[in-house]
């Protein structure tokens, strides 16, 4: 490589950022349109149980204040313009501004997802290589079958069984939350202890896909001419496997990582709920249960943006790792 591909990468990023604008516009518009079509009443959601005892005049005034009777396109536009200024509205269920909810919780979700994903990638590579070494062997069949079963198993079910096993039967790990009951100071040791189970379960839910792809990639690479050549030159099996097959077999898989963000978000939604992890995914579920529209709208938009960023990351990695790929063409 003669020069660093910074310029095409920057250009691709800029192009994708431009592409993200209409996507986010359409998604937020859709969110407001669905809300407008639904029987959901923002006044009642805002007032909560107080709406039951309030007289009609108060409700009407509230309705007027919230601007519910205006067309949803106008409300969408207002939301959009104030969102650009950082004001995402007020969350009824959390009793704080939406932006604050996201700010407080984003870190925990990112931590959980990053740890889980790193664990899945590492373990998946090891298992995939082990399986690919001898196709059809006992190890291969065990790994492949386990991967298929895990892929079919719902992640919340795995999470519950993990709680039962590790927190109740073995009593080695806490069942959920971020801190021990009775204290709310987050210590490093306590954080690690509380992170192991949710991150482990999330990793296990991402593992099968990764393992099977590594197995396929490395298995294919093992059958290619460079590997045959390396074997013929008398290189050790270790060098052949790790230096040749793994390197070329892992490349296409690594680039797919970015495109797994939707599955990661789906897994986080369920895992965070089971383990009462104070991240944005569990906030989404709480917001949905309480029909907290401002929070739900903001989090849906945020998730969409995360998916788009993941796709961009996948393409950037692809261009960076595989010199044959021209980023200009993407």
């Amino acid at each position: 490589m003669t020069h660093a591909p910074w310029r095409p990468m920057a250009r691709l990023t800029a192009r994708r950022a431009l592409y993200a604008v209409p996507v986010l516009l359409v998604v937020t518009f859709g969110v407001f349109a669905v809300a407008a079509a639904s029987p959901f009443d923002p006044v009642k959601a805002y007032a909560g149980t107080a709406a039951l005892g309030a007289d009609q005049e108060t409700l009407d005034r509230l309705r007027d204040n919230l601007g519910v009777d205006r067309p949803f396109t106008a409300r969408w536009w207002d939301w959009l313009t104030s969102a650009l200024g950082g004001d995402l509205g007020q969350s009824a269920v959390m009793r704080q501004p939406v932006a604050e909810v996201i700010g407080e919780r984003l870190l925990w979700s990112t931590l959980l997802c990053a740890v889980a994903f790193a664990a899945a990638v590492l373990l998946g590579t090891v298992l995939g290589v082990l399986a690919a070494r001898r196709p059809g062997s006992l190890v291969d069949r065990a790994v492949t079958s386990a991967a298929y079963v895990l892929e079919a198993a719902p992640v919340f079910w795995i999470a519950l069984l993990a709680v039962w096993l590790f927190a109740l039967q073995l009593d080695v790990l806490p069942a959920g939350g971020l801190t021990d009951t009775g204290s709310d100071r987050v210590t490093f040791g306590g954080l690690i202890e509380h992170l192991v189970l949710p991150a482990g379960v999330l990793a296990v839910s991402q593992l099968p896909w990764f393992t099977l792809y590594v197995r396929q990639g490395v298995g294919d690479a093992l059958a290619e001419d460079p590997v045959r050549g390396a074997r013929a030159r008398g290189l050790s099996e270790r060098t052949v496997l790790l230096g040749h097959a793994l390197r070329s077999g892992l490349l296409p898989v690594l680039t797919l990582i970015g495109s797994r963000v939707p599955e990661l978000i789906t897994g986080a939604l369920l895992v965070e709920t089971v383990f009462s992890w104070p991240g944005i995914a569990s906030a989404t579920v709480e917001a949905a249960t309480a029909v907290d529209f401002p929070l739900l709208a903001a989090l849906t938009t945020l998730a969409t943006a995360a998916v788009l960023a993941g796709n961009l990351l996948a393409d950037l990695l692809y261009g960076l790792i595989d010199p044959r790929v021209k980023l200009e063409e993407m």
């Binding site: 639904s38 029987p39 919340f156 069984l161 039962w164 396929q216 059958a223 939604l269 949905a288 029909v291």
Partner: protein, 296 residues
């Protein structure tokens, strides 16, 4: 060319038992077919034939571990879990099939229209599909269900509305490849209208692919329903579905009883694997070069 079929031929060294591969293959296929048949039969026949009340409460026998009288044990109010699981599978399967069919009809219509019309209509539709795919499916489902109050129909609609995208992509791609074949040119030069070409010549060609996608979508839709129900955003808790069963078992799980959680999950895993196995075999048959791929 580095397909798996080649890989198999290159390395006979540690594949001495090459002849037994074919028979395990057939065995696996038959096992999958048997499992799917048993599932469907159980779901269709058990409720009308076995005159047992799944809601029968027996507080004296609550939370009994698996035994001969109750093979899966009983739940926290003494209902038989095997019966509850079968009823739950029935509801989940029904939701899954209806949602998958709806999604396939929408996806096929949109994909075929995009592929057959081409031009700016195609670009617009596919951009919309891309946009919708950027929202994680479960999140979109959660949003729809939250806005329309949990219930059977909101769940079906939310699953259908999130799952038609992949079918639309498959059908469009297939239509585009069929469009360049000579028999379409023949039909067009024979004076067939665009509608006739689409309905009589293009759609029959894409149906096998759409059908395969629909079958594969059923376990996926069931998973979706379970996840929504588990989050408390799906079916009402008194309706036994696999998701509500797992959700309802959370209390007894924390008290140490594992069976109300374990068995509904297995009822979800086994049909999923069986359907994936069948679909894999079918795909292998229509395209033998591409061997097993992640089919879930």
């Amino acid at each position: 060319m580095t397909t798996d079929a080649d890989t198999a031929d290159v390395r006979p060294a540690w594949r001495a038992h090459g002849t037994s591969r074919r028979s395990t293959h057939v065995l696996r296929l038959r096992a999958c077919a048997a499992l799917v048949t048993v599932t469907v039969l159980a779901v269709l026949l058990v409720p009308p034939l076995v005159q047992l009340d799944q809601q029968a409460v027996d507080l004296a026998a609550k939370l009994e571990p698996p035994s001969w009288a109750h093979p899966f044990g009983t739940d926290d109010v003494g209902r038989d879990l095997l019966l509850r699981c079968v009823y739950g599978l029935r509801v989940s399967l029904l939701v899954g099939v209806v949602a998958a069919l709806t999604a396939t009809v929408i996806g096929t219509a949109v994909g075929a229209a995009a592929g057959a019309l081409g031009g700016w209509a195609d670009r617009l539709v596919m951009r919309l599909v891309d946009t919708l795919s950027s929202v994680p499916h479960l999140l979109l489902g959660i949003f729809i269900v939250a806005m329309f109050r949990p219930g059977v129909w909101p769940v079906v609609i939310s699953v259908a509305l999130t799952h038609w995208l992949s079918t639309a992509r498959i059908v469009r791609a297939e239509v585009l490849s069929l469009r360049s074949r000579p028999f379409i040119d023949a039909a067009v030069s024979g004076g067939a209208s665009r509608w006739r070409v689409t309905v009589r010549h293009l759609l029959p060609g894409v149906l096998p692919q759409a059908g395969l996608a629909a079958v594969l979508m059923v376990p996926h839709a069931m998973w979706h329903e379970s996840a929504l129900s588990f989050l408390g955003l799906g079916l009402p808790t008194h309706t036994a579905s696999l998701g509500t069963l797992i959700q309802g078992a959370r209390g007894s799980l924390l008290a140490g009883q594992w069976w109300p959680t374990l068995f509904p999950g297995l009822f979800l895993i086994v049909p999923t694997l069986a359907v994936a196995g069948l679909a894999g075999a079918w795909r292998e048959r229509i395209n033998p070069r591409r061997r097993s791929e992640l089919m879930l």
